[in-house]
C-alpha cells in the first residue's frame, strides 16, 4: 500500500476544501469497508485520505417530514433498525439488513455504500506492479487492458447493461432499494450543492467502465432523501444468494406496490445482482398496472424485467432466476398488510 496523508475535517465545506487542496490522488473515506479493502489489494491507490466521519450531525436520521432523510454518515445498522424505516419501508430496512455482516453494517455508512465498487473477480484480482495491468486484464481497473470476464468465468457477471468492455455487476443492495423508491442524494462539491436522483448517480459501463459514478471530482454525498409513499408498506427487498446469509446477491429485487382494492395501481421494481448498475425495470412496472397480482401476472412481470437480458457462457441461469426473484418479491409485497 502506498503511503498517504490523513486529514479529518470538521465540516463538509472543510472536507471539500481539503480535497481540492490535496490535489491528485485525494479520496474521501467514511466507513472504509470498500476503499481500505481495495487499497489492500493495490487497486485503489489514494495519496491523500480525507476522513469525513468527524463531521458532526451528518449521521442524522429524520423521518418526520414529507421525505425520509438519512445523513450520509448514518451507519447501515442504524438506518436498518430505525423504527419508522423498519415499519413503513421494509424494502429499505431489508436491503440494509441483508447487506454485509453486522460488523460491516456498523462501520459502513449509507452514503458510502452508494459508491461501493464491483466484486467482479477479475477486477479484484488485480494486484501487481502498479504500472502493470495486474493478474488479469480489466478495463475498469486498468482502462484499455481488456476484460477477462468476457469469455472467462462469468457465472457472476451481469446479464443487463453490460458492454463489450465490461460485464461487472453493481454489487449493492441499498442502491437498488433506493432506485426503486425514487430516492435522491444531496451532494456538496467545489461547485456548490446539488441534488441527484440515485438512479442518475450510476453510469453504464459503455466503453469507459472505469467511470462508474456521475459525481464530479471533489463532490461528496452528504444526505439521501426518499419521498414518503404508502407503497412503502407493501414492499420488500428479496435477495437470492449462494448461501443463506452474508453474501452478495446473485439476483435480487426491490419492489413496492400501490394497490387499488386488489389491483395494482402503481409498481416500483428494481433489480440487483444482475446488472451493471442498479436497474429500474419500467417494463415490469407498466405490465403490473391495473392487474390483479396473480402468480402468472407476477411471473410475467419478472420476465418483462429481463426481456432485454443477454447472458454469457455461465450466467444464463440469472435470467430465469432473476425473473422468479421479481415474481416472488411481488407476491411477498402484495401479501403485506397496510
Amino acid at each position: 500500500m502506498k503511503p498517504f496523508s490523513y486529514a479529518r475535517p470538521a465540516t463538509p465545506a472543510e472536507a471539500v476544501q481539503a480535497f481540492t487542496a490535496a490535489g491528485a490522488g485525494a479520496r474521501y473515506i467514511a466507513g472504509g469497508t470498500t476503499l481500505y479493502d481495495l487499497m489492500k489489494l493495490d487497486i485503489e491507490r489514494p495519496r491523500h485520505l480525507i476522513d469525513v466521519t468527524a463531521i458532526q450531525g451528518m449521521d442524522a436520521i429524520e423521518t418526520s417530514g414529507d421525505r425520509l432523510r438519512f445523513g450520509a454518515l448514518a451507519t447501515m445498522s442504524a438506518v436498518a433498525v430505525d423504527p419508522v424505516v423498519a415499519r413503513d419501508y421494509p424494502v429499505l430496512a431489508e436491503a440494509l439488513w441483508k447487506a454485509a455482516s453486522q460488523q460491516l453494517r456498523n462501520m459502513a455508512t449509507v452514503g458510502g455504500n452508494l459508491l461501493q465498487r464491483t466484486r467482479c473477480l477479475y477486477f479484484r484480482n488485480g494486484s501487481g506492479n502498479p504500472s502493470s495491468v495486474g493478474a488479469f486484464p480489466c478495463n475498469k481497473r486498468a482502462p484499455g487492458s481488456g476484460c477477462a470476464a468476457i469469455g472467462g468465468l462469468d457465472r457472476g457477471q451481469a446479464v443487463l447493461g453490460q458492454s463489450d468492455a465490461c460485464t461487472a455487476v453493481s454489487p449493492g443492495d441499498w442502491p437498488v432499494a433506493l432506485t426503486a423508491m425514487d430516492a435522491e442524494v444531496e451532494v456538496v462539491g467545489p461547485a456548490g450543492v446539488r441534488t441527484v436522483p440515485v438512479a442518475a448517480l450510476y453510469r453504464l459501463p459503455g466503453d469507459t467502465p472505469h467511470l462508474e459514478f456521475t459525481l464530479a471530482p471533489g463532490e461528496m454525498i452528504v444526505g439521501i432523501t426518499v419521498p414518503k409513499t404508502a407503497a412503502g408498506h407493501r414492499s420488500t427487498y428479496h435477495k437470492i444468494r449462494d448461501r443463506e446469509s452474508y453474501a452478495f446477491a446473485i439476483a435480487s429485487a426491490a419492489v413496492a406496490l400501490d394497490m387499488d382494492g386488489d389491483r395494482v395501481s402503481r409498481a416500483h421494481v428494481a433489480l440487483g445482482g444482475v446488472a451493471t448498475r442498479p436497474w429500474r425495470a419500467p417494463e415490469a412496472e407498466r405490465l403490473l398496472v391495473g392487474k390483479r397480482l396473480t402468480p402468472t401476472v407476477a411471473l410475467d412481470a419478472g420476465h418483462a424485467a429481463f426481456a432485454q437480458a443477454n447472458a454469457g457462457r455461465q450466467n444464463g441461469y440469472k435470467v430465469e432466476l432473476g425473473a422468479r426473484t421479481v415474481a416472488d418479491a411481488l407476491t411477498i409485497a402484495a401479501g403485506r398488510t397496510v
Binding site: M39, D51, Q102, M107
Partner: protein, 205 residues
C-alpha cells in the same frame, strides 16, 4: 528439526517476543504500566505518521502510527494483543472482530487512525480479572470451538449480538453471527453457547 523460524530455535514464543519488545518501548499514559498495556514497537512509521490517542481495554494510550496501519495490525503487531486474529484481512471472516465504542467491527478494515479518541475492547479486555465473561464460559461449556482460531472473534461478535438484542432465537443468532466463519464447523455449539450466555447476561443486567 532444522527451521528457518528464529522463535523455534531460541525456544521463545512469538507472543513472548512481541510482548518483550513492546514493553521495552512502551509509551503508556498515566495509570498504566508498560507491561500492562504493551505499546509501540521502536520502528518509526515508514510512511506518513499519525499521533493516535485512544483507549484500549480501559487503558488510555498514545502511539505514533503509520497512517496505513489497520486496527488489527496495531493490536497484534504493536500492542501484543494477539487475541484478535487475521483470517482473511478483508472483512469476510470475522476473526478480527473487536468492539469500538461498544459496537462490533472488523478491525482489519478499520484504519487505526479512526479509533483516535474512541474506546476499543478486545478479547483480552473481556474477562473480569480471572473470572471469565459469561460468553467465554459458555463457549467452554458447550464445546463451541475446535481449533480455536475464530473463537476470539466469535466471542466478541456474540457479546455484541446479545447486547444488540439480536440473540432472541436460534434463527436470529445464526443470521446475526453470519459474519463469523468457523472452518471447523462448530456452529451448533456456538449457537448453543450464545443462547446460554444470553440468558445469563440478561439476568446480570
Amino acid at each position: 528439526m532444522a527451521s528457518d523460524d528464529p522463535f523455534l530455535d531460541t525456544g521463545l514464543t512469538r507472543r513472548a517476543t512481541l510482548q518483550a519488545s513492546a514493553a521495552l518501548v512502551a509509551l503508556p499514559l498515566a495509570g498504566a504500566t508498560a507491561t500492562e498495556v504493551g505499546a509501540a514497537l521502536p520502528a518509526k512509521p515508514s510512511g506518513q505518521a499519525f499521533d493516535l490517542h485512544t483507549t484500549i481495554n480501559g487503558r488510555p494510550m498514545a502511539v505514533e502510527i503509520d497512517t496505513r496501519t489497520s486496527l488489527l495490525d496495531l493490536l497484534r503487531e504493536r500492542l501484543a494483543l494477539t487475541g484478535a486474529k487475521k483470517g482473511c484481512d478483508h472483512g469476510q471472516c470475522g476473526a478480527c472482530t473487536v468492539h469500538v465504542d461498544g459496537q462490533r467491527v472488523a478491525s482489519c478494515l478499520t484504519l487505526a487512525a479512526k479509533i483516535d479518541g474512541r474506546r476499543v475492547t478486545t478479547i483480552e479486555g473481556l474477562s473480569d480479572g480471572q473470572t471469565l465473561h459469561p460468553m467465554q464460559q459458555a463457549f467452554i461449556d458447550h464445546d463451541a470451538l475446535q481449533c480455536g482460531y475464530c473463537t476470539p472473534g466469535q466471542i466478541m461478535a456474540a457479546v455484541a449480538c446479545v447486547a444488540e438484542g439480536n440473540a432472541t432465537s436460534r434463527e436470529r443468532i445464526r443470521e446475526y453471527m453470519s459474519g463469523n466463519i468457523c472452518r471447523c464447523g462448530a456452529y451448533v455449539g456456538i449457537v448453543q453457547a450464545i443462547e446460554d450466555a444470553a440468558a445469563k447476561m440478561e439476568r446480570k443486567a
